[in-house]
């Protein structure tokens, strides 16, 4: 992963962390769909955006290097263990 991409992801993370902190204080209206007061509704939006962020990390980056190629990584471990025996 390039440094630029890492910095971009950290910035997105910080924005989302700010969202988690419930910055919308003293707001109670409107009530969405009759059951979610505004702060809960906004937090649910942050929640979904955060899940999308995790989804991007999980499926769109190679944070764990060559271990991400699971088949070849496991084959390598089997070979190493075979050698040790």
């Amino acid at each position: 992963m390039t440094t630029g991409k890492k910095v971009f992801l950290v910035i997105i993370f910080l924005v989302l962390a700010y969202g988690i902190s419930a910055p919308f204080q003293k707001v109670s209206e409107p009530i969405y769909w009759g059951i979610f007061p505004a702060p809960i509704f906004y937090l649910l939006i942050v929640h979904v955006l955060f899940v999308a962020f995790i989804g991007y990390m999980v499926f769109g980056t190679r944070m764990h290097g060559r271990a991400e190629d699971e088949e070849s990584f496991l084959a390598e471990i089997r070979r190493e263990k075979g050698v040790e025996k």
Partner: protein, 490 residues
């Protein structure tokens, strides 16, 4: 609620738990990896259920509605902890899985010993883990005894309830180890889910004609119940965020959660878990809002808010469904306790007995049998500690279980991501931050900025100590580092 109905429901549930315990025993093989990790074969559905049910304890049923009763919806800010927990699953859990597969680790603590080349790092982390979990186990079992005593109007006494929970949990954990634990967790997850959602709809309907009615009545009663920072003014942005850090990141470091990362069958499973878990967690985090607010509408002036759910359970829910909720509470307790005692046993057996007393001659069968014996000691120790331990220490460990484990996660991040992290840095960081946390808890110090969780203040100190001391001391040798980091290079 009829005591007979409760006893019949509990008996059916017990038979099911025993059957799973026996099935686990028949499937088990005499090896440490099998007894503590089920042979590292968990698929996505099972690992989702086991993490879900282990993380959510009886607190979700009793404590959360009480918290919403007191704080209104502002307490929902804490639900963000699950997002940080899931991010830890991806960033830390994935790497733990890779290293577990490569080097056979079964705990976070044995990873520390190898990565930092130090038994002392392992022992300190082990003491912290035991200190954090032991009183919690005792407290949960005690809570189960009180629940059974309460819902049967003393037909089942406190001691009988406590003994019942202890015997059932010990039976299935001793018989089948991790395999029994995770499959009972699957059944318990279903009961917990049905209980939580059913309670929400039934109570809301009875109190205010539905979920929307609860919100409207709560707004009419006190508008502050529907906004941040809540009626008591506690949940400011800084308090929400720092509490999320403590609960979410500290929660990941709990041995019973982090150990499940080793038990999954593939890296892909952990990645999917990290993605799906925050959505699944909403099924536990949303219902208590409506239950707690319905309680506020129904009983506006309760002195002890934690009684609100049991009171509604007795007065508003039909008896048959009440049994399901009682079973859901017992399931929440049992799933958490079983995960905790098994993890703690694995730490004691692997990092104390095998590492220091019998590293060469311990056969897998001998270790498995020893583990079954240690399980008994752990439960007895937990109960003895909660009943007869020094009250200040018990109170501290229960109050600060999350913050205590948060200090360990710094050392874990360093182990997995920072080549320059050293054993001296890890030791000083853990001792320094835990000591500071205790001093803050005892109110020896008061921090200059209000609205930040004590656990985060201690973590900041821990990070500084970890970095400074690591940079000042001799790095871990390159051979060891390559053993750990080579898998993560491109």
């Amino acid at each position: 609620m009829s005591p007979t109905l409760v006893i019949v429901g509990v008996a059916v549930y017990t038979v099911l738990m025993f059957a799973i315990g026996f099935w686990g025993f028949r499937k088990s093989r005499p090896s440490m990896e099998d007894f503590f990790l089920g042979g590292r074969t968990l698929g996505l559905f099972v690992v989702l259920c086991t993490v879900w049910s282990t993380l959510f304890s009886a607190y979700s049923y009793i404590g959360l509605p009480g918290a919403y009763y007191r704080n209104g919806i502002s307490f929902f800010g804490i639900a963000g902890n699950i997002l940080l927990n899931s991010l830890c699953m991806y960033l830390l859990g994935s790497r733990m899985w890779v290293l577990g597969k490569k080097h056979g680790f079964i705990n976070m603590t044995d990873l520390f010993a190898e990565r930092y080349g130090s038994n002392l790092v392992c022992v300190i982390a082990m003491i912290i883990s035991i200190g954090s979990l032991l009183p919690y186990i005792g407290l949960q079992v005690k809570g189960a005894g009180l629940t059974l005593q309460g819902v049967t109007n003393n037909v089942i006494s406190f001691n009988t309830g406590l003994l019942y929970i202890t015997i059932v949990v010990l039976f299935y954990v001793i018989m089948g180890g991790f395999r029994s634990v995770v499959w009972t967790d699957v059944v318990q997850s279903v009961i917990m889910l049905v209980g939580m959602l059913g309670a929400m709809f039934l109570i809301a309907d009875k109190v205010a004609g539905g979920l929307g009615g609860v919100i409207q009545k709560a707004a009419a009663m006190d508008p502050k119940l529907l906004s941040f920072p809540g009626p008591a003014g506690i949940w400011t942005p800084s308090m929400v965020l720092t509490t999320c850090m403590v609960v979410g990141m500290g929660g990941f470091a709990w041995p019973q959660i982090s150990q499940r990362m080793y038990a999954t069958k593939s890296l892909k499973t952990i990645k999917m878990l990290a993605f799906i878990f925050p959505l699944a967690a909403l099924f536990v985090n949303l219902p208590p809002i409506f239950i707690g607010l319905a309680g506020k509408v129904q009983y506006p002036a309760l002195k002890n808010a934690d009684l609100v759910f049991p009171m509604m359970l007795n007065e508003l829910v039909p008896p048959f469904f009440g049994i399901i909720i009682v079973l859901a509470i017992l399931a929440a307790i049992m799933s958490t306790v079983s995960g905790q005692i098994l993890s703690l046993t694995s730490i004691i057996v692997r990092d104390l007995y095998v590492r220091f007393f019998d590293p060469e001659s311990a056969t897998q069968a001998k270790i498995t049998n020893l583990s079954r014996f240690v399980l008994l000691i752990v439960v007895a120790g937990a109960l003895a500690f909660v009943f007869w331990g020094p009250s200040t220490l018990v109170g501290l460990l229960i109050d600060a279980s999350g913050p205590i484990m948060l200090q360990v996660i710094i050392v874990l991040i360093g182990a997995l991501y920072w080549r320059r992290a050293t054993k001296a840095g890890a030791i000083i960081s853990m001792i320094g931050s835990e000591t500071f946390l205790v001093l803050l808890w005892l109110k020896v110090f008061k921090m200059p900025i209000a609205g930040i969780h004590n656990g985060v203040w201690a973590m900041i100190l821990g990070v500084v100590l970890f970095i400074v001391v690591s940079l000042m001391t001799k790095p871990v040798d390159e051979k060891t580092l390559d053993k750990f980091f080579s898998a993560f290079k491109e």
